[in-house]
């Protein structure tokens, strides 16, 4: 299974949980979860799917949550050497 497909499945699994929660919690719940636990390159990949591929395969609740997901820092910053 490709990494993209895996990521879509993970996002949709989170959405599935929040579908059963009180509706007000939905998008914020999904976004908070992704913000708290997804490493920047995963979120970058996520936004690639959302921005460039029309969110193919993503649960509508995930798409609704997307604007609340924190955009990761640009790749250049993340590859800096640590200042030890």
């Amino acid at each position: 299974m490709s990494n993209d497909a895996k990521l879509v499945r993970m996002a949709n699994q989170i959405a599935t949980f929040f579908h059963s929660q009180p509706p007000a919690d939905g998008p914020m719940g999904v976004a908070t979860h992704i913000n708290k636990y997804w490493e920047p390159r995963m979120r970058r990949q996520f936004f690639d799917i959302v921005d460039n591929r029309g969110g193919a395969g993503l649960d509508p609740l995930v798409l609704e949550a997307a604007p609340l997901v924190r955009r990761p820092p640009a790749e250049g910053l993340a590859t800096q050497q640590p200042g030890v």
Binding site: K6, F17, Y37, E39, Q80, Q81, P82, V84
Partner: protein, 960 residues
């Protein structure tokens, strides 16, 4: 240093709060009501001679040695069975008592060998001590008559004599030295709860027997816990190590490195040689009990397979080359720097070990965060209890079990769900069974008929044999019954939880679709059983829930943990002894490794990495700026490796290739990396893909702390020099130094001081404090200076307890025509996890291979007989193993353990995982089983690759 000698009070302590005063030999003694005269006397420092009494079991009154005289009472009552009473005047030594005792000893010794000088118990024999205590000088009866001592009497065969039973790998049974005091039989019943031992025959013919007549120990039901050996006052039951080495001369209290119970042991030593491990009576997790692993299975620590020198190689197809520590550290440092320069700061990471100490774990996550400059650190809890952290964090506000193990003594109804304590957490199981024999009720929720469902003097009131993967449906159905039948604890909920959230949740679970009847078709559990179990749990008194990986390792693992928390809150079962939600942790330090900030999203003490104030604490101390973004979890690291953005990994004490799911994906991830560093005792499976091997040290070779499943911080104490030269914390420190970090810890206690200074729940913890208190359960700070045996006592950590809706969602892993059976996995008593340790001990006599349990019906359909080779296939892969036909599993369900690498159970498991934490779904895999001729191509190929990758230049091929 000297040998720790624990006082044997003869009978167990009384828990009464009412005190009684009496006089013993002219001394006034005040003890709790119900105390025996023997114990009261010992508490006053007066030792009454005894043989059949020991304080690990109830008084028996058979040896007639502990007699006393009581003013105003006739005769000479046994002090072990006579309770104290106010105003009694007791004499423990009178001319009459002296005569009677000497007469009793004379009879014992007349049927006992006189080989004291060459006896293994020499120096540790109560019979010898008592002969001395009563002044036995002569045996008037002689030694010639009927006896159990000699194989021949005057040339004729002595049918009363029995040869030594040496069948158990760890201890011997020599009937000729037995005085039939029944201590072993009672220890097996009362302490271990196995009832394997008995006394056969009557009168002079009585003797101790394991199992049925003429069974030896190893083929009997004996589980080799060692309680009988510990109880034996003579050399009848003796550790083989004591026979081989002799009596120990000093001992050190330390903590077992196997499961999450965290038993305290005395490591009894002669020099640097370990003579035996004896459970410590004051150990607050185990209260003097042990299992076969902690008590006996430490031989791996000196096994010839241990790697003692660092090794490196350029390619994993090369043989290993032994190098100096300096070269190894310099190589790792330069490789990690090169890779970060080439592929970016986030291209490297580390994995902390749940087998290592808190201090070692803390250092690895510190190395990743401060040295690598990212948060790509994770731990094996990812694949076991990460849903516990998430689920309990959401509902209660903290990521830990709510009770201490002592709490089980006050429970009235127990739910055991997705756990098999008699195999996985044996010492806890013994404590649970003791409570069940006293009358507590048991509900087992498990696809398999585990031993607790029906055993000697223990029987579950309900066993809900659910289909794997339907935990959420079953637990929600329990709540449905409790809410719709009005069995919830409204007062508790109103006081302690958010009422409107409760109302929302109550409305949700009350829907008809959550009723036991509605879900029966999907869970396979008869609705009446669910209703009965719910009523019993809600109304049966103190209700406690114990769970294991059968709960967490599912795609809805976190949801089930929340459902369990809901159930406990709805029934008011939180915040006092006897109740609570208790995750049974798999490894010795899973709790600790989580506490120490091993997860990529949080710093020590479960504080999110994005929290500026927390980061600032560490930034100030460490003098670096910390990345505020969560790092990669283990499965994400492997995904990123396959994708090409993750290139180097430092793995301390963790065998991800064998223990993580979907082996082929794991090996692909590892193979894609440029520098894999494995630090372990042995060349484990992951090391097949490693470029650097750093030899590890055992728990006997280092100082530190482990935190067990009840949040108890226990000291680990070094009893011997590390065979590899360095303790694991030193290895990480030297690696950090090679990378330019200015670390200079001189002792693990300094690391703990840093943890305490930065982590509020550990604020008062220090080695001095632990030495003073023995152990302590976190939180341990100004507010809880003695630690916290029970959590959420006056309110939940998060404020109000939060009820959360738990909708059942079927896993994507579904059975179908190609894969019609569901595979679930578990453990067996004698082996531990991937078996790297236990397979290198004599424990293999009990479990030399993993077998596939299959129901007779499913076997019949497939033409499979007991013991046949079978092929086990899923959509992820296939393997072969031998079948074991049993109705312990339901039709449609098969089961295996995962202790042996050649079984490759994880070739079968899939990449599905928990929605919240990515904890893999080990417990449900759709499979097909068919007859087979032998190992699969994959197994043969894997074995060949593993053999090749273990070559060491200049050495003969390493075993295994």
């Amino acid at each position: 240093m000297s040998l720790i000698r624990e006082i044997d009070f003869g009978t167990p302590a009384s828990k009464s709060e009412k005190m009684v005063t009496l006089t013993i030999d002219g001394n006034e003694v005040t003890v709790p009501e119900g105390t025996s005269i023997m114990r009261a006397s010992m508490e006053a420092g007066i030792e009454i001679p005894k043989l059949c009494a020991t304080d690990m079991v109830d008084a028996f009154g058979s040896c007639r040695l502990c007699l006393v005289e009581i003013q105003g009472r006739g005769g000479m009552p046994a002090s072990c069975t006579t309770p104290v009473a106010p105003g009694l005047v007791v004499s423990t030594q009178t001319p009459r008592l002296k005569d009677v005792r000497r007469g009793v000893m004379e009879l014992y010794i007349s049927d006992h060998p006189l080989d004291c000088l060459t006896c293994a118990a020499n120096g540790d024999c109560e019979l010898q001590d008592m002969a001395g205590a009563v002044g036995l000088r002569d045996v008037r009866y002689g030694y010639e008559g009927e006896n159990h001592v000699r194989a021949r009497n005057d040339g004729a065969i002595n049918i009363k004599w029995q040869p030594k039973d040496e069948s158990n790998p760890y201890f011997t049974f020599d009937s000729s030295k037995c005085i039939v005091c029944s201590r072993c039989v009672r220890a097996c019943e009362e302490v271990q709860g196995t009832f394997a031992l008995t006394i056969e025959g009557r009168g002079f013919d009585s003797r101790v027997s394991a199992g049925m007549q003429h069974q030896d120990f190893v083929s009997s039901e004996c589980v080799s816990c060692g309680a009988c050996v510990q109880a034996c006052p003579t050399a009848t039951l003796t550790e083989k190590s004591v026979i081989a080495i002799g009596q120990p001369e000093h001992s050190v209290v330390t903590t077992c490195a196997y499961c999450g119970v965290g038993c305290s042991f005395k490591a009894e030593m002669r020099g640097e040689e370990l003579v035996r491990m004896v459970p410590w009576k004051d150990g607050q997790a185990n209260r003097g009990h042990s299992c076969v692993k902690g008590r006996f299975a430490y031989g791996y620590s000196t096994h010839r397979d241990r790697i003692l020198n660092p090794m490196i190689r350029e390619k994993v197809s090369d043989p290993w080359r032994e190098v100096s520590w300096e070269e190894a550290f310099a190589h790792v440092a330069s490789e990690f720097r090169r890779i970060q320069y080439q592929y970016g700061r986030d291209s490297v990471g580390g994995i902390t070990s749940s087998r290592c100490t808190n201090e070692e774990t803390y250092l690895v996550q510190k190395l990743v965060r401060a040295g690598f400059g990212n948060n790509n650190v994770d731990t094996c809890a990812r694949v076991c209890h990460s849903p516990t952290g998430y689920g309990l964090g959401q509902t209660f506000g903290t990521s830990a079990g709510t009770q201490n193990f002592d709490s089980v003594e006050e429970t009235d109804v127990v739910i055991v769900i997705g756990a098999n304590p008699t195999d996985g957490h044996p010492v806890f199981a013994s404590r649970l069974k003791k409570r069940l024999r006293q009358g507590a009720k048991l509900i087992v929720i498990d696809p398999r008929r585990i031993d607790l469902v029906k055993g000697p003097h223990v029987e579950a009131s309900y066993h809900l044999p659910l289909r794997p993967g339907t935990n959420v449906a079953v637990v929600t159905a329990l709540s449905h019954v409790i809410v719709t039948e009005g069995l919830f604890d409204e007062k508790f909920i109103r006081e302690r939880c958010d009422w409107s959230e409760f109302e929302d949740w109550a409305g949700f679970v009350s829907e008809d679709r959550h009723s036991p009847e509605a879900v029966e078709a999907l869970t396979g559990v008869p609705a009446e059983l669910v209703r009965g179990a719910a009523r019993l749990f809600a109304k049966g008194g103190n209700g406690s829930i114990y769970y294991g990986l059968g709960v967490t390792e599912h795609s809805q693992g976190s949801t089930t943990v929340m459902a369990i928390a809901n159930l406990a809150m709805a029934t008011g079962n939180i915040g006092r002894p006897g109740v609570g939600v208790n995750p049974l942790r798999g490894q010795n330090n899973v709790q600790g490794s989580c506490d120490m900030g091993s997860f990529p999203h949080e710093l020590p003490g479960y504080r999110h990495i994005s929290d500026d104030a927390t980061r600032e604490i560490f930034e100030k101390l460490w003098g670096v700026e910390l990345n505020n973004e969560p790092g990669l979890r283990i499965p994400n690291m492997l995904d990123a490796a396959v994708e090409g953005s993750f290139k180097a990994l430092y793995i301390q004490g963790e065998d991800i290739l064998q223990s993580d799911p979907d082996t082929k994906h794991v090996s692909a991830g590892l193979a894609a990396m440029e520098c894999v560093v494995v630090q372990d005792l042995f060349l484990n499976e992951t090391a097949n893909y490693a470029h650097v091997f750093l030899p590890g040290s055992t728990f006997l070779e280092k100082d530190g702390t482990f935190t067990n499943a009840e949040r108890r911080i226990n000291r680990v104490r070094r009893v011997m020099t590390p065979k590899n030269g360095l303790a694991d914390w030193e290895v990480t420190q030297k690696l950090a130094q090679a990378m330019g970090l200015a670390w200079n810890y001189r002792h693990p206690s300094e690391i703990m001081d840093e943890i305490a200074a930065t982590t509020p729940s550990f604020a008062l913890v220090s080695y001095d404090y632990l030495d003073k208190l023995g152990s302590v359960q976190w939180p341990c700070n100004e507010k809880h200076p003695q630690g916290s045996p029970i959590m959420h006592v006056d309110g939940f950590v998060r404020g109000k307890g939060k009820f959360i809706r738990t909708e059942y969602v079927a896993t994507d892993e579904k059975t179908g025509p190609r894969f019609p059976l569901l595979l679930t996995t578990g453990r067996i008593l004698s082996q531990y996890n991937v078996g790297a340790q236990t397979r290198r001990t004599d424990n293999v006599v009990w479990h030399e291979e993993d077998r596939l349990e299959i129901h007779p019906h499913d076997a019949e359909n497939r033409g499979i007989h007991d013991g046949d080779w079978v092929r086990l296939a899923s959509r992820a892969g296939e393997t072969t193993l031998h079948a074991l036909i049993t109705d312990r599993v339901s039709p449609g369900v098969v089961y295996t353990t995962f202790h042996h690498p050649d079984t490759q159970a994880n070739v079968i498991t899939t990449d599905f995982s928990d929605w919240a934490t990515n904890c893999p779904e080990y417990k449900v895999t759709a499979v097909q089983v068919s007859p087979s001729n032998g190992p699969s191509d994959w197994q043969v190929e894997y074995d060949e690759q593993a053999r090749r990758s273990r070559r060491i230049a200049g050495k003969l091929e390493a075993a295994e």
